[in-house]
Amino acid sequence: MTSERNSPARKVYLDHSATTPVRAEVLSVMLPFFAQAFGNASSVHRWGREARVGVETAREKVAYLLGAEPSEIVFTSGGTEADNLALRSTARLLRSKGNHIITTTVEHHAVLHTCQILEKEGYEVTYLPVDEYGMVSVESVIEAIRPETILISVMHGQNEVGTIQPVEEIGRVAKEKGILLHTDAVQSAGKVPLKVRDLGVDLMSISSHKMYGPKGIGALYVRKGIKMAPQITGGAHERGRRAGTENVAGIVGFGEACYLAERELAEESRRLTALRDRLISGILERIPDTVLNGHPSKRLPHNVNVSIKYVEGESILLNLDRMGIGASSGSACTSGSLEPSHVLLAMGVPHEVAHGSIRMTLGRMNTVEDIDYVLEVLPPIVSRLREMSPFSAPAASETSGGGRNNVQ
């Protein structure tokens, strides 16, 4: 790996939607649970009791973030498993009531691929379209509802383009129709207020490593009174809703991360929004032929996603990386598949433009200086790549914004 050898002027991590570092405060509460209070939370002896206290205190903290009761929190191995559990449990237990699920075309693969498998098992799934901003409409939800609809699963904050879906309105519809509502709030948790009672959701997935907690732990909020069929079966952990020895240190860290996030939410959200808008407008001003993806205002406070025409995402990322900047892209090349981001395509972004999208997601450590560094470094990278591109005449594209081969 060449680029480990060079030391860029600055290191700027802008991929907080992929994962976040564990906060120092979080790591420090976790540490005693590795080698001191290391017991199995099911054991009756002192080591077990200490672990149990750790787990249950953390459960209270997660519940605090969501405005839920501790008994409504089921710990899982992450956001993906929480999504799986919500969908599969509901599908299995409500099968006698119906076999129809409503979701959207812009869900995370943890929901989409699970729905595709459920389709193979005889469920019917409606994938609601989104508008150019990646937004689903409440009307489309209402129209899709059938007598046999058992679940609506609509994500809260979209992970690629940052659009925040109208979950609260959908919650009112779901309640009125007596249909369960799940929301994947993995990206929203700790970023925007997320009280389950206000949103009117029955099930909500969140993930620790997206909010400065450790990886490998997440939670599903399950409204009191909703039965669960465990996906992972074995011991009677998590009140029979998820088997497997509890990841005590992970749970404790997750709890602390939730607590800190809730405490700092309003202020941090304001700060991130300002940085986000500085980065967005800086890019759009300094680089011609760029467009913002996702909703301009109903948007996660830390998400920037732009399409940079005539160039391909991975080649931008590699250049940014050499300059110390970590970002991600909606390009297919990054993942090794041929299809670029299903989210951008669902929003009607043409393939070739989707290939040139990059996502920069801000976090706690980012400063105005970081943003300005990106704004200094990115334009020459784009120019250089555009000079290499068969789609833009080097001179013309930078000034008039029109390439020889006009993509879109």
Binding site: T2, E312, L318, A332, P340, P390
Partner: protein, 125 residues
């Protein structure tokens, strides 16, 4: 993901650009898939005297484009036709498996350029 040689060709690509009145032009890939490569050649005495490329694509797409131009400069057209995508990948010290198929098309673009040249000259001649 990529080895040092690939990164070198990506960050310092050889023979980028366009030439005036090329003798042959080849383009492969399409923007929908995320990789498009255009190779131009100047031919003298049945040899590739000069070669330029422009590529829209990922690291592998750019690095293979650069490498193919380096490999073929000075070769006879027949020799250049022997240079395959595999040759290019090997010259680069290997590519990640997922990049072998979708982004390793530079030799194809070169072959197209040679065919373009040959079709023009055979018409002319």
């Amino acid at each position: 993901m990529y080895n040092e040689k690939v990164m070198d060709h990506f960050f310092n690509p050889r023979n980028v650009g366009e030439m005036e009145n090329p003798d042959g032009v080849g383009q492969v890939g399409n923007p929908i898939c995320g990789d498009v490569m255009r190779v131009q050649i100047r031919v003298k005495d049945n040899r590739i005297e000069d070669v330029k490329f422009k590529t829209f694509g990922c690291g592998a797409a750019i690095a293979t484009s650069s490498m193919v131009t380096e490999l073929v400069k000075g070769l006879t057209l027949d020799e250049a036709m022997e240079v395959s995508n595999k040759t290019v990948a090997e010259a680069l010290g290997g590519l990640p498996p997922q990049k072998m198929h979708c982004s390793n098309l530079a030799a194809d673009a070169l072959h197209e350029a040679i065919k373009d040249y040959r079709s023009k000259t055979s018409v002319a001649g």
